[in-house]
């Protein structure tokens, strides 16, 4: 499947980056028929969520 192939392009990158790219691609695909989708909010939500997880992970590593 094309989706899988796209995701496979990024296997050498951090898991967080991979997840971010994968989710944003899914989002973009859903809005592909719109010329100028209002996509800033949804992307920020995805990034915030992933960044929080990253922050927790870093905090846990410190302890």
């Amino acid at each position: 499947m094309l989706r899988e192939k796209l995701n496979q392009l990024f296997t050498l990158y951090d898991p967080a980056i991979q997840t971010l790219i994968s989710e944003v691609l899914t989002l973009e695909q859903a809005y592909i028929s719109m010329e100028r989708p209002h996509i800033k909010e949804p992307i920020d939500q995805i990034v915030s969520r992933l960044a929080s997880k990253e922050l927790e992970r870093i905090d846990e590593q410190k302890d």
Binding site: L2, L6, I17, I21, V24, A30, L55
Partner: protein, 648 residues
Amino acid sequence: MKLERITLENFRQYFGRERLDFAKDKQRRVTVIHGVNGAGKTSLFLAINWCLYGEGANNVGELISKEAIKLARPGERVDMSVELDFSHDGERYLVKRSRRGIRMMDGSVQIDSSDEFMMMRILWDGQAQLIKNPIGTINAILPSNVRSYYLFDGEKIDDFAKPEAAKEVKDAIYLIFKLETLDRARRHLETAASDYRKELKNSTSGELINLLDDDERARGELRKKEDRKAEAAVEIDAARRKINDIDQHLRGIQNIKFLQQQRDRVGQDLKQRRSELEDVQYQIRDISTTSYFTILQPAIDDALQRLEEKRERGEIPSNIRRQFVQDLIAQMRCICGRPFTDGSPEHQHLLRLIDNTLPGSLEDDVLEITATLRTFSERVGRQRNDLTAQMKRRAELVDQIRDLDAETDDIGRQLKDSPLEEVSSLELQRQNFLADIDRYNIETGELTRDIEGLKEKIAHLEKRISQARKNERREKLLSIKFDLTQRAADAIKDTYQTYANDMRLRIEAKTKEIFKLLIWKESHFRDVHISQDFDLEVIDRYGRPARPELSAGERQVLSLSFITAMSRISEEEAPLVMDTPFGRLSSQPRNNITKYVPDMADQLVLLVTDEELRDQARANLESRIGYEYQLEFDPMTSCTSIVEVVRK
């Protein structure tokens, strides 16, 4: 996507409900739909496009069946719809687009302003679940921007092989392989990263560290002062003990011990008076802070007067209750017991009383408050007297204490001036210790004040530190957000080119493979090439670009090869729906295509004229055909019905 069934209702020349099922077996995956020109092949093709995407309906006239409009009465509604059942990734879906209109008097139809579009998921038990985001879901299954590569208009068959078609080829690859999706993702992520970077610039970092420093310093100072205060207390104790020792000593010295004894007595007295003074001050505090009512005697008198006035006017009969009066009226009996007549003066008087009295509970209130307020003047008197007495006592005590202090000083002077050196030196020491105690007390007072101030400061700092910690966390998060989005955008940028190139090469290889399979002059051509600039080229055996020499048929085969190559490489499950694809091909390429194309798509739907599919071409397809239909056009009604061709 695998098509299962289409149902048309009053769509163009399809009057009423017409339905057809699509072949979807692995072996028999071809659906053939025959129709002469004008019978409705193109309408059927259009129906699929319109149903899924709402597209393709411009400039083709009205979609609603003319027959349906004609047969409707003026004012009657006419419904039109196309419904498509399909499956994708193991799920079954139903998509329906409808349009409604009202037939007007003059035979025209007034259409509703917008079409209705609905998508449902059909669960295994047959239940239908409405999908909330139909457009997004369709785009995830078969995006609208690539539909023309799957829902394939035969007129455009040689588009990709035209000399000026580089852009078409590039667009096709770009869209089918979601390069546009990647590109948008990269752009949006870069914008987001840039926004986060801007936000980070307004950072307040460093604040937390400063606050923590301030906090540490304040606490250090606090500790020092508390320690010093404790030290001072110890010093005071020590000094007191020393003074006691001296007193003890002095008591033992014959000549002056009476003075010391006197001092002891005076000291006791002073202690007692000072204690009493403190008590008196507490009393004065208690009395004065509650003496507020004493300044309002005039106001109280005024209120009492108003209440009296009301009473005198009979508005508040002192003992008579409202209920009592009402009872009297009901019994037609006067207060004194004599009966009265209706309308008599006694009756009127009682009625007036009722009108002027206040509601029951108010009357009680008024009585109560009047009684209480009357006691105030006595309270005021007492309060004032108490205060005066206490203030007098205080003055007395202050005088007494002053006198006793003077006496103490005097004794001290006598002792200091004593001819006995031992005595005077002891007394001097004693006075020094007393001075020390005074100093320490003053210092303790200041320290106490400073300590309170520091505690407040620390509490304040704690609040700010907590806030700064929150801010710092927020910034850390922002910093991570920036990092993630920037790196993601960079990752896409770095990978994009490689990926795009990789796709290009794979499509090139596959196109070549298919082209070789389909073309009949195989040996004449050596290679198929898609350049970096996305030119689709065929290389002849002399190593030269052969496109100018390609015949129309050869160009069409090249295009078809390209399309099916893309379909294979993308690995998307998608049907290939072709509207009169063989119209312009000669029999040789047609035969080749019909032999191989069924395996190049997961599902194949062919809309053909009778001429297109004959003889060898027909024979090639025979074993792959699952359903076959004939579009029968009735010239009388201009309507088409879909008739299944029964296969043996």
